[in-house]
């Protein structure tokens, strides 16, 4: 069997296929969020809701033999790449028949079959993608590796070192920075110097910026980078902006506070006021500086445009397809049914 050469592939985005991918991911993650709230998924849960446009934009270009180095929110990429949703759900529920036997959990999802490896260590996707790409370059030229990470990871040495390594060795890597402006719970602009595109270019890695909330724009940017990597021209860096609709992870205290001020405020406000008034410590001016930082974080969280329609790649992609209502309804019915079936099947042995 011969691989499709890049000239044979139709280089036009299939809006229907892309919408099916991101909708599937969204419905899947909404289901996992409910399981998490019910206490059936333990620990932290970082959703990819809001970044589906980016994930679909790259995954649609991948073929057999391509590798993915994923971060701590890897479910969406695995799902779109073709991993059985039931297997991921069983893994998140910690079941022995889950994707990783219940041993990995949501931050540590692996699929050998798909050459996909996740990590909960920020920035670790860089070295992994470089290594996958080295194997590709050596063993099966034409295959590529993708690294998916946030802009917070761009301050992690190992990621920048990997970009330089990929540049020096002309490795077929697509470095994809899913830029939502937040490094965990800190505004990235407060802890980042310079410009990320210039940073990549300074390492000899061509850099492209696009709106990751628009799946076709993300797809187009990825197309350029993937072609470059496949044809042996080396790595690219993509900065694709997005908004994480649920913030860094589920249950983040500041977001909870904004959604339920009366319930959450006393737990934060009372000790804070006590500390501000307590004797011993800085001058009033410095203390007010501290208050400003805290208020800044609250206001930034408040002002973060999480739920706006324009930030939601699913709603944006759907809008383009609305003209053909019958086809849209059929697609949505099919995707919904697939996820519902996976959920039902995954929950079979879980007590209500």
């Amino acid at each position: 069997m011969t691989r499709k050469s890049s000239t044979q592939v139709v280089m036009r985005p299939d809006a229907w296929a892309l919408y099916a991918l991101i909708l599937k991911s969204r419905l899947f993650e909404e289901a996992t969020a409910r399981l998490w709230h019910d206490g059936l998924i333990s620990g932290e849960l970082h959703l990819g809701t809001g970044e589906e446009g980016i994930i679909a934009g790259i995954v649609a270009h991948l073929r057999e033999g391509d590798a993915m180095a994923l971060d701590h929110r890897g479910s969406a990429a695995l799902l779109m790449r073709g991993v059985d949703p039931r297997l991921i759900l069983r893994e998140l529920l910690g079941k022995p028949d889950g994707l990783c036997g219940g041993m990995g959990g949501h931050m540590h999802l692996f699929s050998r079959e798909h050459l996909a490896a996740s990590s909960g260590i920020v920035g670790a996707e860089g070295p992994s993608a470089a290594g996958f790409a080295l194997s590709a370059q050596y063993l099966h030229p034409g295959s590529i590796a993708v690294a998916l990470f946030g802009e917070g990871a761009m301050n992690q040495g190992m990621l920048l070192e990997s970009m330089n390594l990929a540049s020096a060795w002309k490795l077929p890597v697509v470095f994809i920075c899913k830029d939502d402006g937040w490094a965990i719970t800190t505004k990235s602009k407060n802890v980042t110097g310079g410009d990320l595109l210039e940073r990549a270019r300074g390492l000899g890695v061509p850099a492209i910026e696009a709106d990751g909330r628009d799946v076709t724009a993300a797809w187009e940017a990825c197309r350029v980078a993937v072609e470059r990597a496949r044809s042996g021209q080396g790595p690219s860096f993509l900065r694709l902006r997005c908004v994480h609709l649920e913030g860094h992870f589920l249950g983040f205290q500041l977001i909870r506070m904004l959604r339920d001020p009366l319930g959450e405020m006393p737990g934060i406000g009372i000790p804070l006021t006590g500390a501000f008034l307590r004797g011993g410590g800085a001058s009033l001016r410095e203390r007010l500086g501290g208050v400003r930082v805290v208020l800044g974080a609250v206001l930034a969280t408040l002002a973060d445009p999480r739920q706006g329609a324009g930030n939601d790649p699913v709603r944006r992609a759907r809008r383009l397809l609305q003209a053909n209502k019958a086809r849209l309804q059929e697609l949505e019915r099919r995707v919904r049914e697939e996820i519902n079936q996976a959920l039902e099947s995954a929950l079979e042995e879980v007590p209500a």
Binding site: W36, H37, D38, G39, S42, G43, E44, E91, G94, K95, P96, C100, G102, M103, G104, H106, M107, H108, G120, I121, V122, G123, G152, A153, N155, Q156, G157, A183, I184, T185, T186, N190, V191, T192, F249, L250, G251, F252, Q253, L254, R256, P271, L272, G274, A275, F276, R278, G280, G281, A282, S283, E286, R287, G289, G290, V291, R292, V293, V294, A297
Partner: protein, 350 residues
Amino acid sequence: MRKLSFSQAIDDALAQAMSADPRIILFGEDTPLIRRNLLVRFGPKRVRGAPISESAFLGAGVAAAMSGLRPVVELYMADFLGVCVDALLNHAAKLETFSGGKWRAPLVVRTPCGGGYGDGGQHEQSLWGWLAHIPGLTVLVPSTPADAGGLMLAALEQDGPALFFEHKLLSETWLEFLGSGGRRSLQFDLPTAGVKGGVPEKWEPLPIGKALLHREGDDLTIVSVGVGVHRALEAAKRLGKEGISVGVLDLRTIAPLDKTALCEAAAKTRRLLVVDEDYEGFGLSGECCAVVAEAGIACRYGRVCTRGSIPYARQLEDEALPGVERILEAARKLTDANERGERRKGETQE
């Protein structure tokens, strides 16, 4: 006596030290948010947020400590030490030797550690043995609010690099942040005496390298740190009802290790069980055995530790971590008279 939670006690001791010593500053990822109560009291110059650049800010912490500051560098999790251990291994720990004893780095690295809330094996490790293996580092693992505050103050007052481990099951702040996320649907096996407890009105530094005997016993001594101490106390109580008298020694400090207390306890009970949430091989449990053997104390020995990478699935995780049931089983084995008889018989037959 006032009562504080584990993390409140640490922050309270830290605040007392910060009021007295302007050289103490804090930084780490999200520190302004997580230590917001210190931020509004001491200001943004002293409580700083760092980028996700552990190698840079921990390494900077070492040199800042070499040049007049007393930084408390906070890492999100002990697991992330993997990213930046060079700053400790090759720099902070070596400085005193390399400078001919003329230069030390008074740095405190504060980091949450440990499992029991289902976050997976890259976010629940203990790793104190790994750090204590490196000569030149002080390694502290408190188990109660009073010890946590007292050891934090001690760490701030000494002149070398110290690691301060804050177990996530003891810290309601971290457990809320990483484990529950505000969910009421979850249950954790919390060691209540470690989560909240009496603390002094004014903090005094605790001696570093001094173990605390929580409970006297005649038949067996269980040695542990952190959450393991509470698991051991629970086991000791239950073993007491079976007629087995068990002492519990809380090492509190791993490096330096209180060899005197360890040997005294081992010599008294002649049976030693080390409970360590860190990995079993090449760590604290083996070190305790070596110390006792080197002292020439004839002693039966056992250990209950974490054996492999920590599984994500809650039940498997509970089985992997040193819980009360595993401790009971090991303790019964060590104190079982029949088995000792069997063993002696086996030896004579050889």
